[in-house]
Structure formats: C-alpha cells, structure tokens
C-alpha cells in the first residue's frame, strides 16, 4: 500500500480516536459553563462582522439570480420565499462553515498548535489537569454552538440584503418580499439547514482541534497544522454537504411519503 494512503488512514484513525476522547471527556468530566460561554463569545465575535456582511450579499446574489429566472414566469412575488429557502437549506450553512473554517478553524488550529509545540499542553498535564477538558472541549463546543448563532445572523442579514436589492432593482416592496417566505420555507427547510450546520460545525471543530492538538515540530509544524486544517475542512465540508443533502432528501421523501 502506498505510504501516502497509509498516512491518510493513520491520520483519519487518530482523528476519530481524538474525537472519541473529546466525547468521552464531555460525558465524564465536562468543562465549566463559563469556559464554554467564553469560547462562544470569542468565536461569535470573531466571525460576526464577516458573517453579517457575507449574509447580506448572499441574499443580494440570490435575489439577483432568482429575479432573472422567475420574472419570465411572472412569479416575482415568490422571490423572497425562493431566495430565503435557498439560503436556509443550502447557502447559509455552507457560508457559515466556510467562514468559520477560514477564521476560527485556522485560528484554533494555530493557537492549539502553538500551545503544543511550546509544551503548554504538557504543562497543563503536569499540573494535574486534563488538557482535553481544559482547552479542547470549550473550543469544540464553542465552535458548534456559535455556528447556530452565526447561521441565524447570516439568515437575517441575507433576508435583509435580498429585500433591499429586490426593492432597489426589481421594485418589489418589502412586504411582498416576505409574504411568501413562510409558504416556501417550511419546517423541513429549517431542519435541513440546521442539520447541515451541525454536521459542518462538528466537522470543523473536530479537524481544527485535532490538527492543532497533534501539531509537532515547532513553527513549521504549526504552519502545517493550519494549512491542513484549511484544506481538510474545505474539502470535508463539500463532501459532507453532498452526503447530508442525500440524507436529508431521503429523510424528507420518507416523511412526506408516509404522511
């Protein structure tokens, strides 16, 4: 078997063992509520401006794209609903995942990697504390919980962006824009979006904390950890997007078929 393949299998296996240890720690010796809140605050604050800005323009892009398509059918009244549905189901979770990957994933990986190569993690262990409980778990949960806050902010901003662009370029008044949102965006769309958001956040938190925690070899090792975090999360998000789409569509078909 080629060495590269063995290394990949080895890395995936180690990552899964690491996630198992994090889960075990979460169940047996959870970290303090204050440390989780601190991480949620840090992650949310780090990504809020970019999420809001990107959310606004995603709404704007969706509006422009849908306007071109649906004007032909005379269904401009459905613009808000269609645009929001696309954002809730797909673009929102994907956008949040990519933004978090670029900002929080790289930051967390570099932070933990530096702590590892400067022996701070060994020092925590020597002082009788569990590094997984003290530094990994709060970051892990912080990333997952904040991604939902950021998703909400992104969605609100995308509706606002779409509404503004709809008003300026297509002359749709805001009331008309939001009228059909509840018709098209149903509970399945919201559940689909939240499920994707959870999966992406879980993936990102696992990769960036694992890569940082397992960094070796000084500044170069930290650099390697950050780069592989960026690459793996991007690729992972796309692959898992396909997988979750498959799962949610199948689940929806089963539920709707049975009802």
């Amino acid at each position: 078997m080629p060495k590269l393949l063995i290394d990949v299998i080895d890395d995936v296996g180690n990552c899964l063992l690491f996630v198992r240890e994090v889960m075990f720690t979460a169940l047996t010796s959870p970290c303090s509520f204050a440390s989780i809140c601190e991480q949620i605050w840090t992650v949310t604050l780090q990504s809020l401006p970019t999420t809001a800005l990107a959310g606004f323009f995603v709404g704007a892009i969706m509006t422009v794209q849908f306007t071109l398509q649906i004007t032909t059918f005379g269904a401009l009244g459905y613009l808000g609903g269609l645009s929001t549905s696309g954002t809730v189901r797909e673009v929102g979770p994907l956008l949040i995942a990519f933004l978090l990957s670029g900002k929080v994933g790289a930051f967390t990986s570099a932070e933990l990697g530096t702590m590892q190569v400067t022996e701070q993690i060994d020092a925590i262990r020597c002082l009788g504390a569990n590094p997984i409980q003290e530094i990994i778990l709060p970051r892990y949960l912080g990333i997952i919980i904040s991604s939902f806050f950021l998703l909400a902010v992104g969605l609100v901003m995308s509706i606002f962006g779409g509404m503004l662009l709809g008003l300026v370029f297509s002359g749709i008044n805001p009331e008309e824009y939001v009228r059909h949102i509840p018709t098209i965006v149903n509970k399945f769309s919201v559940a689909n979006g939240m499920f994707k958001c959870l999966v992406f956040a879980f993936l990102l938190a696992s990769i960036c904390t694992y890569k940082g925690y397992s960094a070796r070899g000084g500044a170069k090792g930290v650099g390697r950890a950050v780069v592989s975090t960026a690459v793996l999360t991007m690729v992972g998000i796309v692959v898992f997007d396909w997988l979750t789409s498959l799962i949610t569509d199948t689940a929806m078909n089963v539920v709707l078929g049975n009802s």
């Binding site: 022996e119 002082l127 009788g128 504390a129």
Partner: protein, 253 residues
C-alpha cells in the same frame, strides 16, 4: 533502609527506529537532589518526562513511591503526579494568562481554595521567587530570568514533594543563573523536596547535586558527588566534565 522515592527499573525508550535509552536504572531517595548531565540529545529531558508521566517507556518500570506509574488507573496516576512539579526547559508558560494567573491556574484546578486564598498564595509564591511586582504582566512582557522564576513558582504552586527542573539556567547570564540555583536550593531546603534537575552547566551541577548522573550512549552513568565526579575514570565523563574537544564523545558522533 528507606526505599527510593523515584526509580527507573530497566527502562528502555526509543523514537522511530532508534533506541534512545536502553535498560537504564536510577533510584532517587526522598529529599535527595540528583542532577542529570550529558551531551545534548541523549535523553536527559526524556528521563524527566518519563517521571512526569508525559512519556511511556517502551520497556521497564517507572516507579514513584514504589508504584509503577504506568500500571495505575488514570485517577491514581493523576493523584501521584500531583505530588510532582516540573519546570520545562522553555518554561511552557501560559502566554494568554498573566503572571499571576499562571500560578493561580493549578490552584483553581486542583484545590478547593477560595479566590481570596488563591490570590494570597499567588502573591506569596511570586514574592518567594522575587517577581511580586510583575503579577499583572504577561509572560512575554518579562525577562528570561523572570520567566524562569515564574516557571519555578508555578511548578511549586501545589507544594509538590518532588520537583523536576529541566535546564533551569539555560540561556541565562551567570549572575541570574546563580540566583536561580540559589532559589532552587532555598526552596528545596524549605519544602524538603526531592529534586531531579537537568543541566549542562557543571558549575551549577556541582552546586545543586547530592549525586550527579551522566546520560550518555543510551545509559546512565552515576558519577557521584562533586569530588567523585571530578575523579571519575570513565573517559566519557572525563571529556564531558573537562569540556575537551577530543575524546570518545566527539569520536562517536
């Protein structure tokens, strides 16, 4: 006869394909100070990390108070390791915490002291190592000597019975080195602790050690106290102690 507080029994460890230490033995009695010397990269820090439970031996036993460290359940191991404090070679200070918070960290984690008592202890330890004025600064805002003192204060925060010092005078000027060694000796006398220190500075080694041990060629050569070390016949010890350029240590490289 009292039993050893720390012991290595036929311990071997290697990284990758190479063997770093092969079937080494070492016993450290309660209250004793053993200083490990030897060429760089031969396993002195690895020995300290074996005692601190940060590394596991490939073969053999690491014993602390007659218990095999690696056979204990995790919670028992943790309890045993709480008796130990370690100063890392590059200090390993928590750079996102202030000087005072670095010392407060283990106290918050492992004691049930109130916040007021923790702050009292923080001030006490910082005063002990002479950097009380730097409590609110961050580690990268203080000098190398002060960082070393902070590392020592943090290692001693839980009042450990055993203290491991990894190159406590590395990169310090001779005067600061002297101050650090005096500090280590004073704290050892006050706390009646057992000490294992790593250094390549023979002057400081003589100053600190009850016994000196040289780590070389995968083995530990116990050379004894200062006089015994100076009179030792092993050509590797002779070359290292005298700092000679030519000899078995440089020929084998």
């Amino acid at each position: 006869m009292a039993s050893a507080q720390l012991a290595l029994n036929d311990v071997s460890i290697g990284f990758g394909d190479g063997v770093l230490l092969s079937k080494v033995n070492l016993s450290v009695m309660p209250g004793e100070c053993v200083v490990l010397v030897g060429p760089s990269g031969k396993g002195k820090t690895v020995l300290l990390k074996l005692f601190a439970g940060l590394l596991k031996p490939t073969l053999g036993q690491v014993q602390i108070e007659d218990k095999d460290l690696n056979q204990l359940a995790p919670h028992e191991q943790k309890q045993l390791l709480l008796k130990m404090g370690m100063l890392f070679q590059k200090n390993a200070l928590f750079d996102s915490l202030s000087v005072g918070e670095n010392i407060a960290f283990p106290l918050r984690e492992k004691t049930k002291l109130s916040e007021a008592e923790i702050q009292e202890r923080v001030v006490y330890f910082l005063e002990q190592v002479g950097i009380g004025h730097a409590r609110l600064l961050y580690p990268d805002e203080i000098s190398g000597g002060m960082q070393k003192r902070l590392g020592i204060a943090r290692a001693l925060a839980l009042k450990p019975q055993i203290v491991l010092y990894d190159d406590p005078t590395a990169g310090l000027d001779p005067i600061t080195s002297r101050l650090i060694v005096d500090l280590i000796l004073r704290l050892r006398a006050e706390n009646k602790s057992t000490v294992i220190a790593v250094t390549n500075d023979m002057v400081r080694a003589y100053q600190m050690a009850d016994r000196i041990a040289m780590v070389v060629d995968g083995e530990i050569v116990i050379t004894g106290n200062k006089a015994q070390t100076l009179a030792h016949q092993d050509p590797r010890v002779v070359q290292f102690v005298r700092g000679q350029l030519h000899g078995p240590l440089t020929e084998s490289q």
